[in-house]
């Protein structure tokens, strides 16, 4: 059996190395997965982790894609991580992402074809409001009735998907689209589009926003009172109450932050890479961001790297799909594995673990004086 004791002091080395170990373990087990599918594991791993950045043939396309896919993941995961720290489990970021896109899209489409500078900022605002609005439903229900936010936020994803479907074939449908579902292409509407800022770099306003958010939220988490209070609630709710933390305020803040960031991510995606509102607009960034948040150990800087890494598995996964016809679902399995290994290695960070063989009673410690 495992013998587990809390560590007396924090180990920075382990906090950084645990995710690295998890990634390596995922590569090994992922390799076996690819092998079992009859693919060359080394080639597959190389295609996923190496070629998108370094290969002369692929990197020209892949590098910008890397940034484009990382931006929404980082934005959403940043918001989620604050809530997760405080044990507020918003797992409906996907719905908030959709609502952000719908709100901002509605604004843009309503003003079409007006040409004005204020349209883009207004749409950003719309994205934030859309995301926050959707996140406030579980927040308020949790505060008022103590309703479980996990289930409510998740149910709202399905509701948002239906609204998205409704919009694509109904109120936001392109009047010139010959009856096909989907809205006008916003990326082709100059006042509303979110274009690449530097050619072939993949960098758009959303990417810059996500980097700014990382820096700002790192500072906020470390130095702002709210950042401290969030950690307090997560680690010792009773101590937080004793300290005078207003738990309801923190619930509103955490869900609002994650909703707003998911909404803004939806807005940038809509006006840039996606272009238009359609039934298949959302591709699961809201769920993958949960993995990103944990992979980044709920810390903004960690999330930055985790977002890039996760984006790499997407982009590399596409390559592997293209070159070795490894299905996209395999990449999802791969990502799921990564999360499992990560959660398991977490034990090493905060606890000292040793094996003691031969006894079947885990040794009770700590309470003996």
């Amino acid at each position: 059996m495992l013998k587990i004791e809390p560590r007396k002091n924090r180990s920075n080395f382990l906090e950084v190395s645990a995710p690295v170990i998890a990634v390596i373990l995922t590569m090994i087990f992922g390799g076996f997965l690819f092998l079992s599918m009859g693919k060359n594991p080394f080639e597959a791993i190389k295609l996923i982790f190496w070629d998108p950045i370094m290969s002369p043939t692929f990197s020209e396309y892949s590098r910008p894609q890397l940034v484009i896919k990382a931006a929404p993941l980082i934005l959403i995961a940043l918001g989620l991580s604050f809530g997760f720290r405080a044990n507020i489990w918003n797992i409906g970021a996907e719905g908030q992402y959709i609502m952000g896109a719908l709100f901002s899209g509605s604004i843009g489409l309503a003003l079409y074809p007006l040409d004005a500078w204020f349209i883009f900022p207004l749409m950003i605002l719309g994205g934030i409001i859309g995301g926050i609005f959707w996140a406030m439903i579980p927040a308020i229900l949790k505060i008022k009735f103590n309703t479980n936010e996990i289930l409510v936020s998740l149910m709202l994803v399905y509701v948002a998907e239906q609204i998205l479907a409704l919009a694509s074939v109904g109120f936001l449908r392109n009047p010139e689209g010959l009856g096909f579902p989907g809205s006008r292409d916003l990326s082709k509407y100059p006042s509303a589009s979110n274009p690449e800022l530097i050619a072939n770099s993949g960098i758009h306003v959303g990417v810059i926003c996500s980097f700014i958010a990382v820096v700002f939220l790192t500072y906020f988490l470390t130095y702002h009172r709210l950042g401290f209070q969030i950690k307090l609630i997560g680690q010792a709710p009773k101590a937080a109450k004793f300290s005078g933390v207003n738990v309801n305020y923190i619930i509103i803040f955490c869900l609002g932050l994650s909703g707003g960031l998911a909404g803004i991510a939806g807005m940038f995606e809509l006006t840039g890479p996606a272009g238009l509102i359609n039934i298949d607009f959302n591709v699961g960034y809201g769920f993958t961001a949960i993995i990103v948040a944990f992979l980044g150990r709920l810390h903004p800087i960690g999330i930055l790297f985790a977002g890039l890494l996760m984006s790499l598995t997407y982009v590399g996964g596409e390559l592997a799909q293209f070159m070795l016809s490894i299905p996209a679902a395999a990449i999802q399995v791969f990502q799921g594995m990564l999360l499992f290994f990560l959660l398991s290695t977490d034990l090493l960070v905060s606890y000292k673990v040793s094996f003691n063989l031969g006894t079947n009673n885990s040794n009770p410690k700590s309470k003996s004086e």
């Binding site: 809390p6 950690k231 207003n246 009673n361």
Partner: protein, 501 residues
Amino acid sequence: MSDKGTILKIKDISKEYPSVKANDSVSLDLEYGKIQALLGENGAGKSTLVKIIYGLVKPDSGRMYLNDMEYRPKGPQDARSKGVGMVFQHFSLFDALSVFENIALGLDNILEKKELKKQIIDVSSEYGLSISLDKIVGNLSAGERQRIEIIRCLLLNPKIMIMDEPTSVLTPGEVSDLFLVLQKLSKSGMSILYISHKLEEIRTICTKATIMRRGRVVKNCDPQKISATKIAEEMVGTSFSSPKKSKIRKGKECLQINNLSFQPSDPFGIPIKNLNLKLHHGEIIGIGGVAGNGQEEFLSLLSGELKPSNGSLFFNDEDITKYNVVERRNKGLLSAPEERLGHAAVPAMSLTENCLITAEHRMKLSKRGLIDYRISKNLSDRIIKKLDVRTGGSDALARSLSGGNLQKFVIGRELIQNPKIFIVNQPTWGVDAAAASSIRQQILDLAKEGAGIIVISQDLDELLEISDVFCALVGGQLSSPEMTNELNPSRLGMLISNSIE
């Protein structure tokens, strides 16, 4: 039934934990049909030793013999099957389950419901342990809960029963009931190992005592033939100066509690009923009573963590009933709850960070919401110095400190903020004697500087020593205040049992 002879022989048991040698070659003989005491301060190694006997902990070295046979329990189940039962200090009961279910869970062999009910009724009537089987345990008093534990233990027909601090949560009335039961049991031939640090109790019912200090056995004696002072000296080792209570001049009234009531939402919570109390500058009010009578709720109502359902609070004639925790703290009303890890302090945070929990506003550790960790570290350093907290420094995690040192830190964190009113629950619980006496001295010094203080404690000696006025909190109700120096033991016993006039 034999009078003489050893049933359990413990030889040279040692157990070492990373931070401490809990048992250092301990030997002990438990005799047939005796109530034998195991004495010692907190941290002397008593709990570790009994956990070894009960199979919860494996010793590093040493041997045990039960009836001259080698005894090496694989786990509690094995220990029970060999006739060793245990009644825990913190009851291992399940609040949401019924009395019957709780007893059934403690048995190793599964019995027919009817048969088990019959056995329970037999045992409880034989030893006068009255109990009703269908009640939900969460609604029972500490005494009733202990009875369940004892019945559960007796149903296994043990030859040895270990009792870990059995009276720590009982009222004086319940204690004498328990003693009657124990005496009946020992007459019927059972050996009882009685763990306590209360000398008077041991002198009442035990005929043999083993005294432990810092993991070692320091003395075996007959407690009825040796003076309490002598035993206390053996337990503590060195003598400590007890705090000096200076003659205080009672100042102006600083806190007025009017008809304070609280209705808990938790079905197992304790309601507070119509509390009235006046606290003056320079005065220490001691609130005595057994755990689970509303102590935690009382402190939380004063600190602002709980909202009263009725009543009002006045601080220097200002109505603070509606003030939240932070506003009360800013006024100068500070508090230190009983639970150190998780309530007063966060285990996985450094001492610097732990300072922020209560001192952020009063000590200006933040500016416009931004925390200045340098000021906070500075404050933490000062607390460590002032209270002589033994730790690696302000960067050490709270959980790395020993109980006593963390308690010093937690109390020091409030004291350094110059409270006008200070409310503390169990200031010296689980703290070694030296630290306890230094904490008490700090509390007395604070009163001398003019603060009004409420000390909630289950340690009556402590309250008699430092408080000016005494009240008992029983079942969420407060007795009327009485001057401490006019109290005698029997009056005190009446107050903290249930006889409020």
